[in-house]
């Protein structure tokens, strides 16, 4: 039992990170139909910028804040310099552009930072908490808390603010949104910046547990993508559910079967979802009106 609980804890922790990555996918997908494969690089940038700023003597909270701002800037630049320039290109072409951006950002990170593994100190000590015979790291609570705050804040933002509602309207029908005076370019730009900021926060919170390096983004993006697919692309609640499920499946697989196949869980989920449940668990079943 305590073994199961242990796997569950680590699954939920890493699942919360996948959920944040999946949320990033969801926001950009909603606003533009683009699946942004550079999402993982946002997570990497968040962690790496914080590590290097902290090493340069910036206090950790400020370093973290700066890292989020820098990453949001990179997200906005990606939208402005790559996606917006290709206006009118097909969605597939835009997705390929994001894959290119992902490779590009990884390359830049290799040059600007380095190729080493880095870690951050845990935010509130390393003393594990004992629950039912299993241990829970205090940092896990930070990750879960961070994910929770983001979910609530996003929900409020989309439900209550005019700008949040404008993004939702633009996601449903761009033509109609422009017509009532919504600036589509601004909606796109802010959805990229917002996704990048959320990715960066995830990267900062998880670095004390999983460590970070210039190339952690690829795997995180794929697993976040699996989570978003499982939950239903474009559905924020689905992103959270999908993220937690992928995380728990991975931890259980690693614990009970073999840790060699840890990464396989996410890919098995992608294959299963695409074959049997292409809309995901909570995805909208949209029927085109003819």
């Amino acid at each position: 039992m305590s073994e199961f609980l242990q796997f569950l804890f680590s699954g939920i922790t890493i699942g919360a990170v996948y959920a944040m990555v999946a949320l990033g996918f969801t926001i950009i997908y909603s606003a533009s139909d683009v699946i942004n494969f550079a999402q993982g690089e946002f997570v990497m940038l968040g962690g790496m910028c914080t590590v290097f700023l902290a090493a340069a003597g910036v206090p950790l909270p400020i370093a973290a804040l700066l890292a989020i701002v820098i990453t949001a800037g990179v997200g906005a630049a990606l939208c402005k310099l790559a996606i917006e320039q290709a206006r009118g290109a097909s969605v597939v072409a835009l997705i390929i552009i994001t894959i290119g951006a992902s490779v590009f950002l990884r390359g830049i990170a290799q040059v600007v930072f380095d190729k080493q593994l880095h870690r951050l100190p845990a935010f509130s000590g390393e003393q594990p908490i004992l629950i039912g015979g299993a241990t829970l790291l205090p940092q896990s609570l930070w990750v879960l808390g961070g994910a929770g705050v983001i979910v609530i804040a996003l929900h409020r933002f989309f439900r209550r603010t005019l700008f949040g509602k404008a993004i939702l309207a633009a996601a449903q029908n761009r033509q109609a949104a422009r017509l009532v005076g919504i600036n589509i370019n601004l909606v796109m730009l802010s959805s990229f910046a917002l996704s990048a900021a959320i990715g960066a926060l995830a990267g900062i919170l998880v670095t004390p547990i999983t460590l970070t390096s210039y190339d952690v983004g690829t795997m995180l993006a794929l697993k976040g993508f699996a989570a978003a697919m499982l939950g239903g692309m474009g559905n924020p609640v689905g992103a959270i559910v999908g993220g937690l499920l992928v995380g728990v499946a991975e931890a259980m697989g690693a614990g009970y079967i073999s840790s060699d196949y840890k990464d396989a869980a996410a890919f098995l989920i992608i294959l299963a979802v695409l074959s049997f449940l292409p809309q995901g668990l909570l995805g909208a079943r949209i029927r085109e009106r003819v």
């Binding site: 449903q172 009532v180 005076g181 919504i182 600036n183 370019n185």
Partner: protein
């Protein structure tokens, strides 16, 4: 003051001159129609005026301001709104939500106040929803306010799109084939609605194939053929214009008409 002035405007798609050297003015008030055979460039002209296309030559002036190349959301701010030939509706929203989105430009955009749901924000939301209900009532959809747009019939969606366009409080409203695909009863309702809109002081510009509707409501008609102006004037003038008859019926039809009038 002239509301809309188009000067020597042209646009080509590949080698096709969709609009060629077109000039006309629209005075404020009343109902203006743009008619012409299929492919005459009517919808292209709408797309040029509303900023979806960019003219290759010429100028478009709205209230003496050059609006060429302005994006649609900027034009909405200046008082230009439209509906589409193929519906552009938020299908996953209810009818009233569709109209409320139309109030976008008239709402305060203070993020903090919205997040905290201050009393002013609550009042604003109430105002917006009251205004939307009023507009739904105006287009005859008062009972469908909380129905999902995706579940509404075609004729109702046509009117819903008009209500949303009116929510922007435009000075000029462009309607692209509002009666297309509607049955005679629905067409008559649209006919009535267009006259009601004009009475509120909004200048209506209409592209429509239903000649009975056009002749009935228009105070001014512009006839296009192959991207050029063919004729212009009141309904009676246009109807009597031989060039218009030729474009619509062909030379053969014209001879037959002449024989019939004998």
């Amino acid at each position: 003051m002239t509301l809309l002035r188009v000067e020597e405007m042209s646009i080509e798609f590949g080698g096709v001159h969709a609009i060629e050297d077109l000039s006309f003015v629209i005075e404020p008030g009343a109902i203006h129609s743009i008619i012409g055979p299929n492919g005459a460039g009517k919808t292209t002209l709408f797309n040029l005026i509303t900023g979806l296309y960019r003219a290759s030559r010429g100028r478009i002036m709205f209230e003496d301001r050059d609006i060429g190349g302005q994006p649609p959301h900027r034009l909405a701010r200046l008082g230009l709104s439209r509906t589409f030939q193929n519906l552009q509706i938020f299908f996953r929203m209810t009818a009233i939500e569709n109209v409320m989105v139309g109030r976008h430009l008239h709402e305060s955009r203070n993020v903090l106040a919205h997040l905290l749901r201050l009393p002013a924000v609550v009042r604003q939301n109430q105002r917006t929803s009251a205004k939307a209900r009023e507009l739904l009532d105006f287009v005859g959809l008062a009972d469908d306010a909380d129905v999902a747009a995706g579940a509404m019939p075609y004729g109702a969606l046509k009117r819903l799109e008009i209500a949303r366009a009116l929510a922007v409080e435009p000075k000029m409203l462009l309607l692209d084939e509002p009666a297309a695909g509607c049955n005679p009863v629905e067409t008559q309702e649209i006919d009535h609605l267009i006259q009601q809109i004009a009475k509120t002081g909004v200048t209506v510009v209409l592209v429509e194939h239903d000649m009975r509707l056009v002749m009935n409501v228009s105070t001014h008609i512009l006839v296009l053929d192959a991207g050029r102006k063919l004729a212009e004037g009141s309904a009676a003038e246009v109807r009597a214009n031989p060039a218009v008859i030729a474009a619509y019926l062909g030379a053969q039809g014209q001879r037959e008409l002449a024989r019939a009038q004998g």
